[in-house]
Symmetry: C2
Subunit: 374 residues, 2 copies
């Protein structure tokens, strides 16, 4: 029976200092950079059994186990643990909050020691490659030079792909779940609406809201409702909510706040998001996704991949309309053309983009089998 990794703690480590700053793709240097991370399972003697989990836009380092309340497990707890696809009896799993995030790793809400104020929009811009640089610095600190696998969904998958491009010798295996190598105009547009709702919120104050007692909560709520809505499918919303009104008197409500159950659900998503996420991090990390385009120079990308001995698994879900199977196939084709070993799977699921977080048997079996074959 698959089990739980049990109680875990988030650790923090300073990886870059003034003497040894993080050199970003933009040319800027950033220090200090502290990173929040968790690990599950034991590192073996040769440090060869590590798996790095890259999280998505609004994720964090707490991927598995719990922080005291077993009922509140990490965001990928169904995948990570003893006997689970990311089997902690076999693997040493590492997950870290992203650079620019807001849950323990240095980001826009961090105090800039240079002036004693939160960075806000003075935080430097960064790229997916910069996210990978920080992950690698963490692994170096942990004494890990090569990974048994890197795995990630959505923005997490972008990090895995970039990792293979920048350091083709780092990874035995790479698992990209509902990832895209190039956001579409529609993808960018959805993020643009979310960002507009944040930056136009009067309480945004050009990003310097931290110590004012006013935050762009309305903007961030709308961003979350919209984002979440695009991470699920027409079918899953229809099955889960349809036109039900559980809280009403049976007839149509006459207000403009929540009436239908699906509205209550979205409002709840928004309010719980406000408790854990920072608007500036949302802006930075969503923009990182927009800008990601590693195959813009396709020949150069394939040249970098040639000779890469990483085994790839590229997974998509048939109802995911934000990051579709077409996006997955573009990655697959590019890898194959470069002579890289790649398996591609489209999993049937009604749950849209959020499928990557769910314990779907075919999905978990695919990941488990891929890792077992190593």
């Amino acid at each position: 029976m698959p089990g739980s990794v049990g109680q875990v703690t988030t650790r923090r480590v300073v990886l870059f200092t003034g003497d040894d700053p993080l050199l970003l793709d933009s040319g800027a240097a950033l220090a200090p950079v502290e990173v929040a991370y968790e690990t599950y399972g034991s590192l073996d003697e040769t440090a060869s059994n590590a798996v790095f989990v890259c999280h998505a836009l609004t994720g964090d380092a707490h991927a598995a186990g719990h922080h005291g309340n077993p009922a509140r497990a990490g965001w990928w707890d169904n995948l990570i643990g003893p006997g689970k696809p990311l089997d902690t009896d076999r693997f040493h799993v590492v997950c870290a909050n992203l650079l620019g995030g807001c849950q323990g790793t240095t980001g826009p809400s961090t105090i800039n020691p240079a002036d004693g104020r939160p960075y806000g929009l003075r935080f430097p811009h960064f790229t997916v490659a910069d996210l990978v640089k920080v992950h690698r610095a963490l692994l170096a600190r942990l004494g890990i030079r090569r990974l048994a696998a890197a795995i990630g969904g959505s923005l997490g998958g972008m990090q895995v792909l970039q990792w293979a491009l920048d350091h083709p010798d780092d990874l035995d295996a790479a698992i990209l779940v509902c990832a895209s190598a190039r956001l579409s105009a529609q993808n960018i547009a959805f993020s643009a609406v979310a960002r507009a709702s944040i930056v136009r919120d009067e309480h945004f104050q050009n990003g310097d809201y931290y110590d004012t007692g006013r935050r762009p909560d309305v903007g961030l709520s709308v961003a979350r409702m919209l984002g979440h809505l695009t991470y699920v499918s027409h079918t899953s919303l229809e099955q889960k909510f349809g036109r039900r009104r559980s809280n009403g008197n049976g007839g149509p409500g006459h207000g403009f706040d929540a009436d239908y159950d699906v509205e209550h659900y979205l409002h709840h998503q928004a309010s719980s998001f406000l408790e854990r996420f920072d608007a500036n991090s949302y802006l930075y990390l969503s923009r990182v996704m927009d800008h990601y385009d590693p195959f813009a120079d396709l020949a150069a990308a394939q040249q970098r991949l040639r000779g890469c001995d990483t085994r790839f698994l590229v997974v998509s879900f048939d109802s995911d309309w934000r990051f579709s199977t077409a996006d997955a196939l573009e990655i697959t084709d590019t890898l194959e053309t470069a002579g890289v070993a790649v398996e591609q799977r489209e999993i049937a699921s009604p749950h849209g983009h959020d499928s990557f977080l769910l314990p779907l048997p075919a999905y978990h079996a695919t990941i488990g089998a891929f890792l077992t074959a190593a």
Copy 2:
């Protein structure tokens, strides 16, 4: 060669007064009700050649011709005019701004004579059937008892369907374009996000923003950007914008406002919308769509349609993911089961829901042929 109806003017008429108020489905009485409307082409001697155009959520009475500048034509000018599918050499076309609208017809922004203040959220709630009541009152005033056709897209199609249900003897022909008889959970959810952005805007002031110098422009902008984004398709955005950045320096922009062309486009959509639309009207009319569910009691609906001699045409577009062919087929099936004559057409178009506004040859040919067959 198809021509233009030329210069037209919007007229206004008071249709309901204190002595003869509009009796709404809710039981409320509303007076006065003034309606803005336009007509194109001549009414024949027997008043038998009238076609009523029902507009969508953000439309208005100005469907064809121009108000002085021929370059700025009405929203359905490509469909209405001499030699066009709604041929004004043959038909007398009438279009009126909806009850609850903001472009000449009584709505939330109208001064309530009872207290001298704009109604705001004190405007009574109304239904699609109430919209039809106002249309019929206008036609009665114009001396028209039966229509050669009623036509509408989206919310306009809902009005046409309700018209046939409530007054099956009124219409020779009914044309429903990208309409639905029941919004899905996803549809409601998109409108819920748009409404949340309006009602949570600090300047909304519970709807009483008219005389304060502050309006919920941010909320209405976000609502429009989101709405518009769902009215076009992944493919059309990709073809039109892709990942282009025309206004930048070639590299990624580092702000969080518009960078990609698709963002500039959405921002432009929002700012032009603010000039012509009222946030309260958006709330009321979007809620009217949510609540519409004429087939909730299917047997009763079919009973009402039995014996209806109206010829129906139900049109959908293959890339319309807000109001899909599945929605059209549900209407078609219900009509057919009731023994009503109905033709159904899915038109190929990459332009999503907004296809109904475009001069697509197959679409216009279908409407023209259906009206010619009368």
